[in-house]
Symmetry: C2
Subunit: 287 residues, 2 copies
């Protein structure tokens, strides 16, 4: 298969899980009606973003890998004949929680990825909630191609995109929950969003694959999630970009032959000097 | 020192080494007259770009690390009290040539870096000429800060920028010779140049340091070198950008405090998961 249709579901999330799951299901159906074969949702889309404070009650929002959110995505994947890429606040066991992406296909959970890089910034207190991922950088064969899923903060680390590329991914998804702190938006908003988009484009360019970022929108507490979900091609060209303020379904056709073409015209995988990269495994190369 | 002034010398190179050295010296003096403390020149600025064909006569353009180009840069660095970052076609010994960046300060060659990633594309037949670098990723203390120098093709590899950051660099220079193939420019020119700028910006963002790319301009054989030399800050904001078609001297003041500020607001160095990066030392993670 040389062409594949990708659906990006940009959601506004409410306080009620049932509402979010219903909205997600409707928008997945819309994406599929418009041709989408793989549909991706934002980070932790089933609930409000839970990490704006350190509050033990928020752990009640978590669910296991066979909980209602994954059940829904599995069910839809089977019914609609698609692959669904989602994200959950995973309760793995008592006191052990992850920020986990899931890939559902054929009615089943095909696999999952646990967010490796955990942020901790004002209003994004994720280190309080999530144990860093322990499943490496898996690549999944779905719909005749290979995909991978990083999660939000992972997207700032070129190491992640590279590892997924080396694992064979041709499309890299990033379920995301990123926004402006209300008091920062005027001064830093444009710079922050531009940096975010630049990183996605750079991953596509450096690795010669498609990159899709799927963000939430809307004001939740102190964060205005900035939407702007996007998909860029292996040249880093943004093929589609959502609004900054509305729920939206994007559907875009990706030509997988372009991965081959770009990677032979920009042969970075040919030329990596793996004999010189040992320092990447170090924290720092100075005392 | 929290502020440092950087000069970028965008050159049009001719067939005569003496002309190029004279032009470079004049433009270095201009940059310094405008306040520059560290001045960077384009890749292989002393000669025409030598790699558009595989021609043994081109090796005659090479010179040793104590040859006329380095002598000139050392002399100017001492006379003007600056650091000069240059690039030479290095003859290391019979049959052993490198594409080498040099850093001169106080009248002396402070250190050098040999291009690690060597391209080989139509009209950029560098693998024929240059042995891949064997000096790792050195960082140099100059003018009260730490700088590093990658060379052209290195800039497409996020590994390089990261290794320089881990080595302590606060400003990363890329002497460059990149341009449009004449017959490709109309169709691919804009995409190529945008990808190039995006990579520089992404290195600045991912590593929280300044990045400067210094390119040549002008038509040489089949290549129209696209200039557009730029310097971006640790947020990936382009502080200055040269034209695509004229020799030009850019001088821009960098606030080194911004490296601290950005790196604590975007704390990627804090969160690297070095326990998960072993795959980066592999060619590929599939059979």
């Amino acid at each position: 298969m040389s062409q594949i249709s990708i659906g990006l579901v940009q959601l506004k999330c409410t306080a009620k899980k049932e509402e979010n799951l219903t909205a997600a299901a409707e928008m997945i159906r819309e994406a599929v009606a418009r041709g989408a074969q793989i549909v991706c949702l934002p980070e932790l889309f089933a609930t409000p973003y839970p990490c704006q404070s350190e509050d033990h009650r928020q752990f009640d929002l978590a669910e296991p890998l066979d909980g209602p959110t994954v059940q829904l995505l599995c069910q839809l994947s089977g019914e609609l004949g698609i692959a669904a890429v989602g994200s959950i606040f995973e309760r793995r066991d008592a006191g052990l929680y992850h920020n986990t992406a899931v890939v559902c296909e054929g009615g089943k959970l095909l696999g999952f990825y646990r967010k490796t890089h955990i942020p901790d910034d004002p209003c994004y207190y994720e280190k309080f909630y999530f144990t860093p991922g322990d499943v490496g950088y898996p690549v999944f064969q779905v719909m005749g191609t290979h995909i991978a899923v990083g999660v939000c903060w992972d997207q700032w680390f070129p190491e992640v995109a590279r590892l997924f590329a080396l694992g064979g991914a041709k499309i890299l998804f990033y379920p995301t929950a990123i926004g402006w702190l209300v008091h920062e938006k005027a001064e830093f908003g444009q710079i922050q969003q531009s940096a975010w988009e630049t990183m996605h484009r750079s991953h596509a360019i450096a690795n010669g694959f498609y990159v899709a970022a799927v963000n939430r929108v809307g004001l939740e507490g102190n964060i205005e999630f900035w939407g702007a979900s996007l998909l860029c091609d292996p040249n880093g060209v943004v093929l589609c970009r959502a609004s900054v303020d509305r729920p939206e379904v994007l559907v875009v056709v990706c030509d997988l032959n372009k991965v081959d073409v770009v990677r032979t015209h920009w042969p970075f995988l040919r030329d990596r000097r793996i004999d010189t990269y040992q320092g990447l495994l170090q924290r720092y190369l100075r005392p």
